[in-house]
């Protein structure tokens, strides 16, 4: 049973960036000339993180009866944190547009949506083997690293093992 649990946990996050392969798959389009990169990058992160939330919660919902409780509980942590973090990031972006200035807190608010996912995923390690923790955190690190180009002067904190 534990082997099967490891299988789907690894499948969920281990395949995150393996299909399709190649760093170029996630190469962001250049920001249009004259466009504010803070706004474009923030909106990219907000759109993608919303998609991730929708897909992950739907997957857990559809397979709930087959999944161990700790997986549902980890996704519940994500459900509890993400909407607030996402809405705060949208509000921060609106405030940024109003004052037309660069505020480091704006970027911190926007990355909070992704970090909310990280926190809930790391809770899996309470009941997971060291190999599972490594694979999950490696997959999440790869995802966050692929978004590093969004914030060249504000590195996104890496998940702690």
């Amino acid at each position: 049973m534990k082997h099967i649990r490891s299988l789907f946990i690894i499948s969920l996050f281990g395949f995150l960036l393996s299909l399709p392969t190649g760093c170029s798959f996630f190469k962001p389009a250049p920001i249009a000339e004259g466009a504010d990169p803070v706004v474009v990058n923030a909106e990219r992160a907000q759109r993608s993180s919303l998609d991730v939330f929708r897909i992950v919660t739907k997957w857990e919902f559809d397979n709930r009866l087959a999944l161990p409780p700790e997986v549902s509980q980890a996704v519940d942590q994500y459900r509890a944190k993400f909407p607030t973090a996402w809405n705060e990031s949208r509000l921060a972006l609106k405030r940024y547009k109003e004052v037309a200035g660069t505020n480091p807190n704006t970027i911190n608010s926007i990355t909070a949506a992704l970090l909310a996912a990280q926190d809930s995923l790391l809770k899996l390690k309470q009941n997971a083997s060291p190999n599972e923790v490594t694979q999950v955190t490696n997959a999440l690190s790869s995802l966050i690293a692929s978004l590093r180009s969004f914030f060249p002067s504000n590195p996104i904190p890496q998940p702690q093992p």
């Binding site: 798959f25 389009a29 249009a32 549902s72």
Partner: protein, 66 residues
């Protein structure tokens, strides 16, 4: 092996397969978002906020209670 155990194993295998499909969907969604090169229009922002509200209110977004 009991029938119930076999069914459970098949359900977990199905969940794993769906996890792989979900991971691919995430990758494609991430790639699509990275193609944005200009700020969203006010209409697009309004649509995004409306979409988020619908997602957060959906049954899939409610606590599992487990």
């Amino acid at each position: 092996m009991e029938f119930a155990t076999v069914i459970k194993a098949l359900q977990l295998a199905a969940a794993a397969a769906q996890a792989a499909a979900a991971a691919r969907e995430i990758a494609l969604a991430l790639r699509a978002s990275l193609q944005q090169s200009t700020p969203l229009t006010p209409e697009q922002n309004a649509e995004l906020d409306t979409l988020a509200s619908a997602i957060f209110a959906a049954p899939e977004s409610q606590p599992s209670g487990r």
